[in-house]
Amino acid sequence: MTMVRIPPVLRAQAGDSKQVEAAGDTVGALLEDLVGRHPGLREQLLDDDGGLHRFVNVYLNGQDVRYMDGLATAVREADTLIILPAMAGGA
């Protein structure tokens, strides 16, 4: 299982958890497993074709997966995935 950090804006859809675990050998498989466990996240993260929304960035150990192999990027159990949707609040 790999640790996935859930941003504050999405926590309500992930059981109010800050971090959850998900399984998968690739970023795509891992996200599919994640939205399987927390169905409310699907619409927030993935488009109808299963691709990542353009207003959501995913970082594997601090690196944007779009500049790696995208959803095909390999994931190991010790890795940390950060999900970061655009945030506009200036308070």
Binding site: P8, H53, F55, L84, A88, G89, G90, A91
Partner: protein, 377 residues
């Protein structure tokens, strides 16, 4: 009989003493100094003389030449110094007015040298990374704030305190009671007042040397180029995606860095977008999320200190950029989680296909679609 330690001399005699190594003091006010002063002089306004003379002229036996505008204040200061043990103090009769009338040279400060001896900035001046040159650089700096709200409040206060010479504020709003949980540049007795005006009052009370330019309008596609043109740096404290994209695209066009932050509940994010050196906001997020997936702070709430901390980090990045010190957060996004008490960082990259700063955007007709149109496309 021992000669009096105080004499009045002509400008010619004074010039000779200066050339022979006498210490030269200007006992006028900073605004007079800025209009021109003698080369090599140190500014020491009358009110500061008792407290600072020992630092400015540490050797009482060294001859001192002191002048003011016409010779009155400097003669008084000379007697004051004699009473403090200075052995040879001469006041220039007729002051700098006569000096100039005789065609002798004066220096017009290219920056504001007053800052180099201004006790207000003493803690900056002793650090080599700032020092007199850095302080003068801060004094010349022009920083534009988009929003005098939760992020802008602390950043405005600290940049004013730091001695930034010009702070522009774009805000069309008025102070509301619900702002005061975090917008510390405003005050309870200013509810209903324009935020630009309220912020200007607080800033002037903190540091009257900072000039505040009030832009009482909403940032739009139509006015953004005009608003940012006079500034070297923008601090983004807006609260909608639309204004963030409008600002980003204009800042990229104008080549002006933007210090970006956003907050949500207990969390904040920060980055510095330097056009073409690092990614811009659109490289990070080419399109905004649909509104239902991105609630703002008015709906979701925010802990008051979170914009306080993020605003101060923005002020810190702004000062680093102005002074050219440290490693600004270019190409890096800092995430602060207040509840965890933890900072984390992710790496941001320039997107070659970015509609604002990518390869395709640099050519002629690089007009960018407003964010809302892209979102619905």
């Amino acid at each position: 009989m021992r000669a009096s330690p105080v004499r009045e001399v002509t400008p010619a005699q004074a010039q000779e003493m200066i050339e022979d190594g006498a210490r030269l003091l200007d006992t006028r006010e900073p605004h007079e100094w800025r209009a021109g002063h003698l080369a090599g002089a140190t500014l020491l306004p009358p009110a500061e003389l008792p407290a600072r003379i020992a630092d400015v002229a540490p050797q009482p036996e060294q001859p001192v030449v002191i002048y003011c505008a016409s010779g009155v204040r400097s003669l008084r200061a000379a007697f004051q110094m004699a009473s403090l043990g200075y052995q040879d103090v001469v006041s220039v009769a007729g002051g700098i007015i006569r000096w100039k009338a005789e065609g002798r040279p004066v220096e017009i400060p290219s920056n504001t040298p007053a800052v180099a001896s201004n006790p207000r900035y003493a803690r900056h001046l002793v650090m080599p990374e700032v020092g007199p040159d850095g302080q003068a650089r801060l004094q010349q700096a022009r920083v534009l704030f988009i929003g005098a709200g939760g992020l802008g409040s602390p950043a405005l206060l600290y940049l004013a305190a730091a001695g930034v010479g010009t702070l522009g504020i774009v805000d069309f709003d008025v102070v509301d009671l619900s702002n005061l949980q975090r917008q510390v540049v405003h005050a309870d007795d200013r509810i209903g007042m324009k935020k630009t005006e309220s912020a200007a009052r607080t800033i002037n009370a903190l540091n009257p040397e900072t000039k505040v330019v009030q832009h009482q309008e909403m940032l739009t596609q139509e006015n953004v180029d005009r608003l940012i043109a006079d500034y070297e740096l923008v601090v983004d404290g807006t609260d909608t995606f639309e204004t963030r994209y409008t600002l980003n695209d204009a800042a990229v066009r104008a080549g002006i860095p933007v210090v970006h932050a956003s907050v949500f509940r207990f969390e904040g994010q920060l980055s510095v977008f330097v056009p073409f050196e690092g990614p811009c906001y659109r490289c990070l997020y080419p399109t905004p999320p649909p509104p239902e997936l991105a609630p703002g702070c008015s709906v979701a709430g925010v802990l008051g200190v979170v914009p306080g901390v993020m605003g101060l980090l923005q002020a810190t990045e702004a000062i680093k950029l102005i002074l050219g010190i440290g490693d600004p957060l270019v190409g890096r996004l800092l995430i602060w989680d207040a509840l965890d008490g933890s900072f984390s960082e992710v790496k941001l990259r320039r997107d070659p296909s970015c509609p604002a700063c990518g390869e395709g955007a640099l050519g002629a007709g690089a007009k960018h679609q407003p964010a809302t149109e892209l979102a619905s496309a």
